[in-house]
């Protein structure tokens, strides 16, 4: 019988010094039974009962369903279904909890950072981040200073791009807090997978992703101007020709709100209205899917026809909330990204749960020289490039390309960062040759309603289809996978265990800055020796994730440095559809 996974490990990896982490198999060269990693065991068993032709048939069914639904993108003038691979990515609940708390931490830090940047700029005064860095960021907009939503939230929706390095550890690749897109594919991928490959679902408890639109709507309404009883939210789209139009329409439909274009809106007396068949109708919250530069011709690009003149004034007066807030792009700057660990410590007094990929700032003394020396082994990216735009992978580049790049780096060291080449983890993917390992990343989506940062369980897994390709790029046929967070135990037992909670809160009274596992154990010992009913009622919550992080690090060796790239952002410019 022809094995579905036959020849899986036969990939030639002559150039690679380090093996990538394969998410399904512990040992890629013998893709059979015993070496299958625990989270994938049920999937592997179910898939192993299928022949390749059968799986291909299902894949075609996925594609034709997408064609009928209009989940497509333009490929050389022809409409192609959005590529979805039949093999899902599985993340066990325990591991997800870590990712989730890491993303939450990051979003909270970014929130504080952005409100600081457009407010007092304490971080600059305290010397955490240089003022020059902020003011030289191409997405820093002075026009946005002082515009604050009623509940203070700036990042209603975020997409924090993650990868797994050679040791399987999660790292943050980049932050997207402007207009992260792709969540519609998470929702539609799940729906079509359940219709087409139901047998894969039966063995596992997959956490559902259908709550997202409701969470988003709640977050939008929570951000509405004060005093509005039943806020009217709308989705602002650039129009049908935008590559993410499908997503805008899907979200508007699932939230039950209007999908408006710039020309449907008008501003009058500092308020925003939409034109309806029954005359003007008030708008309170705008979920903005248009780039900042286009939102208001009075403040930004005068030639923009995608926004509405006067929007920024209405937002400044507090009569309308624009979500995500204008000016968030400064946090997406890849040079700001390198400061994020420091910013997390500064704003939250916590250690970062998810590490960054190691990055050289070219303006640091000596860094430029080192990077120029090692250009052929590094990945170099422009700080404001989205979607892998302008990215150069050193080992794949020609001498001439590297020379041009070196000249550019010398000329504008602020404009670039450099990272070591990271082997992104691989997942089995059905390609023309059969089932083969392909590199993938993950974009989890987080929604902030002001009380809680909710992370959609799962997220969008994007796959680079060409063999060995580390850049997931739409023009090179980037695919996607349904992402499953699974667990057999009830959710989050570890978090709500009463005994732990009491201990956690009790330890807060001590001035502990860094807790090592052995310290923690000693501390617990001490706590146990005290009376058990001594509970501090209003203990700060921060300590809890910090401790969990410490425990996690105790179990897992901290991965050696080395990591990077980099997948196409789904935002502006290079979306796959």
């Amino acid at each position: 019988m022809a094995d579905l996974f036959e020849g899986y490990g036969a990939t030639s990896r002559t150039r690679r010094r380090i093996e990538p982490w394969d998410e399904m198999f512990g040992d890629i060269s013998s893709p059979h039974g015993s070496r299958v990693r625990a989270p994938y065991r049920e999937i592997h068993t179910a898939l192993a009962q299928m022949t390749q032709d059968e799986l291909r048939g299902r894949t075609e069914a996925l594609a034709s369903s997408y064609l009928a639904q209009g989940v497509t993108f333009d490929f050389a003038g022809e409409e192609r279904p959005f590529p979805l691979d039949a093999v899902p990515r599985v993340i066990p609940q325990a591991e997800w909890a870590e990712v989730e708390s890491g993303v939450q931490q990051r979003v909270l830090a970014l929130e504080k950072f952005l409100s600081d940047v457009y407010g007092e700029q304490r971080a600059v005064a305290d010397g955490v981040i240089p003022a020059r860095l902020i003011s030289s960021s191409s997405h820093f907009h002075r026009q946005a200073a002082g515009v604050v939503s009623a509940n203070g939230v700036r990042i209603q929706v975020s997409g924090i791009d993650l990868i797994r390095d050679e040791h399987g550890a999660w790292r943050v690749l980049e932050d997207n807090v402007r207009v992260p897109s792709g969540v519609s594919y998470v929702i539609s991928n799940r729906r079509v997978m359940a219709q087409t490959l139901p047998e894969l679902f039966t063995a596992l408890r997959v956490r559902p992703v259908g709550d997202y639109p409701q969470k988003l709507l709640n977050a939008l309404r929570a951000a509405a101007p004060a005093g509005v009883e039943d806020p009217v939210a709308v989705v602002l789209t650039p129009g049908v020709y935008n590559s993410a139009y499908f997503e805008h329409a899907l979200l508007a439909r699932l939230m039950g709100v209007e999908l408006v274009e710039g020309r449907d809106l008008f501003c009058s007396g500092g308020r925003v209205y939409m034109r309806t068949t029954a005359g003007p109708s008030r708008v309170d919250v705008i979920y903005k899917r248009v780039d900042d530069e286009f939102i208001d011709p009075l403040q930004f690009r005068a030639d923009s026809m995608l926004g509405s003149p006067g929007l920024m004034l209405a937002a400044r007066l507090g009569n309308v909330t624009i979500a995500n807030a204008v000016g968030n792009g400064v946090a997406d700057d890849k040079l700001v990204y390198t400061y994020l660990p420091d910013l997390i410590r500064y704003y939250l007094s916590e250690e970062p749960i998810l590490p960054n990929v190691d990055t050289w700032r070219l303006e640091d003394p000596g860094a430029l020289e080192e990077v120029l020396d090692r250009l052929d082994e590094l990945v170099v990216k422009p700080v404001d490039g989205s979607g892998g735009k302008g990215l150069v992978v050193g080992p794949d580049a020609t001498r001439a390309e590297l020379d041009t790049l070196a000249a550019q780096l010398r000329k504008d060291p602020r404009g670039w960062i450099a990272q070591p080449v990271v082997q992104l983890s691989t997942i089995p993917t059905l390609v023309d040759d059969g089932m083969r390992p392909r590199h993938a990343d993950l974009r989890p989506f987080a929604v902030n309603d002001g009380n809680e940062v909710w992370v959609l369980p799962g997220g969008l897994t994007r796959v680079a289809m060409p063999e060995g390709q580390l850049v997931v790029n739409s023009s090179q046929g980037g695919g996607s996978k349904d992402t499953w967070v699974v667990g057999h135990e009830p959710l989050r037992t570890a978090y709500h265990d009463v005994g732990n909670l009491v201990e956690d809160q009790a330890t807060v009274t001590e001035a502990i800055t860094i807790i090592r596992p052995e310290d923690l154990e000693r501390e617990r010992e001490r706590v146990r020796n005290r009376t058990r009913d001594q509970v501090v009622p209003d203990a700060p919550q921060q300590i809890q994730p910090q401790q969990q992080q410490q425990q996690d690090e105790g179990e897992q060796p901290i991965p050696p440095a080395g990591a990077a790239r980099i997948t196409a952002r789904l935002d502006e410019g290079s979306e796959p559809c």
Partner: protein, 309 residues
Amino acid sequence: MLSRIAESLFWIGRYIERSDGTARILDVHLQLLLEDPWIEEDTACRLLLSVMGTEAPDDTEVTRTDVLEFLALDRDQPASIAFSLNAARENARRAREVVSTELWEALNTTRARMPHRVASDKVHEFFTWARERSALAIGIMESSASRDETWRFFNLGRALERADMTARLLATRSLSEASGPSWTTILRSVGAYEAYLRTYRGMPSALHAAEFLLLDRLFPRSIIYSLSRAEEYMRELEPRSDRVGVGDSAQRLLGQIRSELEYRSIADIIEDLPQHMDDVQAATSAASEAIRSRYFPANDVSQWVGERT
């Protein structure tokens, strides 16, 4: 409801009805061209094209194949079925958050399956397919749409288009006296033959058949029925309690043409059928224009120019 969305719905209704009507008219006429050996193909085809609001180049002979190409398959001809299907789908895409998923998938699939060429033995089959796809889309709306503005704008578009299409169909009767389709054929093509027989209990006569398609108050494809429906949807869109007259110009236009047909003797109408049918078409397009300026005001895109110093 957003004006832009309302406009899309209005046009979805019109385009669905238009593809259906075009398929019916073509089905009858292409068959006729085959069956009747005395017909002069070039003239008949040109006349048909002109009734459908398009024109063929002067220098070549127009054949049956050309008509099929122009009015059915050519995606760039505004009078073609392919164009209508595409336009219905594009409008649905613009109003995607209001149009139900079922309707969207029906329109999207229809457009995707629209053939680029049709073998001569499959022509009738193709027209049947086009009719069935329209019926499917309309049926989905009928069975699942709330009876709100969405529904009214959609049906207003359909009613106007249907009045227009029936007027065009009747106009083809007088294309050329001898060679026009018989009344039986015309009745058949709009699915009215059985209903007609039941109503009049007898063989079709010109007078009765015209009367049925023009003035019957109960048959849903008759011009009077379609015009009355259109007026009704417009009244529902904007209920009035005024005691005097009709304020809305679209309603006024429709009311005028309806009264003109209704209170004229059928013999009179038949005498100059093409002229009356032209009047109906002119009235529907004027009404459509009035609806546009009333409900879908052109959101003129204002462009802002930076200060020059």
